[in-house]
Amino acid sequence: MNVTPRSAAAIMSLSLAAAVLAGCSEQAAGGNDTAAGGSAACDPSAVKLVGQVRNESNPYEASWLAGGDAFAKSVGLTQERLTYDGDSTKQQEQISQILAGDTKCLVMNVLPNGDSDTAPIVKGADQAGAYLVTQWNKPADLKPADYKTWLSHITYNGVESGQQIGDALATAIGGSGGIIALQGVLDTAAAKDRFVGLQNSLKKNTGVTLLDQQAANFSRAEALTVTKTLLTKHGDKVKGIWAANDDMALGALEALQQAGKAGKVAVVGIDAVPDAVSAVKAGTMTATVSSDGSWQGGIGLAIGFCAATGKLKVEDIAAANRAFFAEQFLITKDNAAEFAAPKTNPADFECGNVFNRVAGPLT
């Protein structure tokens, strides 16, 4: 039993050293070391904020960048906006360019193009000591908890959103009747999770029967054709249409109009694209689900800003908050107006509140 005393001694001497270091840094008030993840705390005005998304030409990512700007403005900074046109190589180039500069107080809120793009971004940021928050895409075995400056990974639970709209659809058709489902690209995680959500909802709403399910590959045009075919196949038995995204829901709405059934069949989707939100507002669509893009744009920068300025210590962030599902919102006719114009709430971005929307740990 001569191992334990040795390791105990090692731990003691390490903690002693840490205490001494901490003491030193406290004495050097306003100096350059409050030991957050091994690097110095930054003056708020010295923090550099970077938001990176695919492009500014779709409403969702435009609202993301606008949310980032709103947060930056609230702390007297500006956000550097980067877009990579859905091109993985371009994204990596932009990241290495940013990391080649001054990375001491750098905060990045990044939407990786795909799962495989996350690893090099994380490694680069870790080496440079830049604070990083990623969203949507990461491989399952890559965990923020294993890194010092990769603060958090935020994503959304597709099973939950699929179930939310499934339940909304069941309510809209009065709890009984036939529905049809339009699936996304069958081999994507989003399509699989959302459809599992629908199946969960069907277990709960026993009066609702799934008449048919077809893949329309997240496409408006394919959804139009498929829906028309399914409407002739099942006729008036179809009371509702569940679509795995809003584009397909909008295609289904066109199909209903062409079949002379507009308003007689309830339609739900996910993503809250502007056309869908206005359709929900107008009552032609029953529900959609929003991840709140402007919050996503602000929150990544806010978490990074709090860590960089020392208000949030990396080691204090609960394990469940290092990779989590964020809360998403069901949009129905009642609240559609609030979502028609995306806006941010500054209180969401205060350091004590940045993890308020954690809906559950990412498993």
Partner: protein, 333 residues
């Protein structure tokens, strides 16, 4: 295919019996497949569903009309997706919409079709003047079209409010939507061009034996450009029709139509080597493809299987159709 690299084929034997056997393949396949689905599914043979199949075929039929002329000439055209996207955005921004105050109605449609025609014209000029193979020229044109469409898209999707344009997909005449009648007129016009005009006859001749035409002193280049321009106009109209169906101008309006149209044309008996087939063949091919997609859904084939099953049936249908002319179909090599 450039003028100089055109393959010269030995004079073919023309057997009347062979010709009729060859032409009968696809229609027979269409009837057989239709009957099989009709036997398996009562919904499939309902009037509603037959109307639905014909309506769903409208856009593909128009695009296939365009591509058929190019294929008859022995060239290939992959520009449909881009040209349709650009024309879809153009028409949606020119008729009454939520982005601007334009309300040009029919004129907007005409401009979109002319734009498609211009795109085709550029492809054709690249082929005859710059000697770019049609495969590359049209693929490039498709990218240009998508680029133009993305510029016009500018982050906000144009939704059309023009009742005339939207009505084309919704209003019906004798049980079929107006789009279907437009497609029928396109097939008729295409057939008349193919049958009775110099353009149509030369397109056949260029595909069959360009060398012979050249030696006879025919200047083929203007006809080549005209064929691509004609095809572009059909794609432009296809883009307008998609916009009418979806009620919005989408950059992806023509997604997948390039290859579906080539598939439909080949299934119908138009050869990729040129000189064979025609508009009516392609129309049969379009119906075959649409009956197949619709039928697989109606008889309840799982979506996880559909793609594969559809592919297999298409390959089988083409194989059956080309067996009588195996020698001629050099692309098979």
């Amino acid at each position: 295919m450039t003028v100089t690299s055109e393959v010269v084929n030995a004079p073919r034997r023309q057997s009347r019996r062979g010709a009729s056997f060859r032409d009968a393949g696809p229609p027979v396949a269409l009837i057989v497949i239709f009957l099989i689905f009709a036997a398996l599914s009562p919904q499939f043979r309902s009037t509603d569903n037959v109307q639905n199949i014909v309506d769903a075929a409208a856009v593909l039929a128009v695009v296939t009309c365009g591509i058929t002329f190019v294929l008859m000439m022995g060239s290939i055209d992959l520009s449909a997706a881009g040209v349709m996207g650009a024309c879809a955005l153009t028409v949606s921004l020119l008729v009454a919409n939520n982005r601007n105050d334009n309300d040009f109605g029919l004129l907007g449609i005409a401009v979109a079709v002319l734009l498609g025609c211009a795109f085709g014209c550029v492809s054709g000029l690249a082929l005859v003047l710059l000697k770019v193979p049609s495969f590359m020229a049209t693929l490039g044109m498709s990218a240009v079209g998508l680029g133009v469409a993305t510029l016009m898209f500018a982050g906000v999707q144009p939704n059309i409010s023009d009742t005339m344009v939207k009505g084309l997909a919704i209003e019906r005449f004798l049980g079929f939507s107006y789009l279907t009648w437009i497609a029928a007129v396109c097939i008729l016009v295409g057939w008349l061009i193919q049958r009775y005009t110099r353009l149509g006859r030369y397109a056949f001749a260029i595909g069959g034996a360009e060398e012979v035409l050249l030696l006879s002193g025919v200047k083929v280049n203007p006809y080549k450009v005209a064929v691509f321009a004609l095809a572009g106009a059909f794609y432009g109209l296809g883009g307008v029709m998609v916009t009418s169906q979806l009620g919005a101008g989408l950059v992806q309006a023509g997604d997948g139509y390039d290859f579906s149209a080539i598939t439909a044309a080949v299934v119908g008996g138009t050869l990729l080597t040129g000189g064979r087939g025609g508009i009516l063949h392609s129309a049969v091919g379009v119906m075959l493809v649409m009956v197949l997609t619709n039928g697989l859904v109606q008889i309840g084939v799982s979506p996880y299987w559909q793609g594969g099953v559809e592919g297999l049936i298409v390959v089988a249908a083409v194989a059956a159709a080309v067996i009588p002319q195996r020698r001629r179909n050099q692309v098979v090599k």
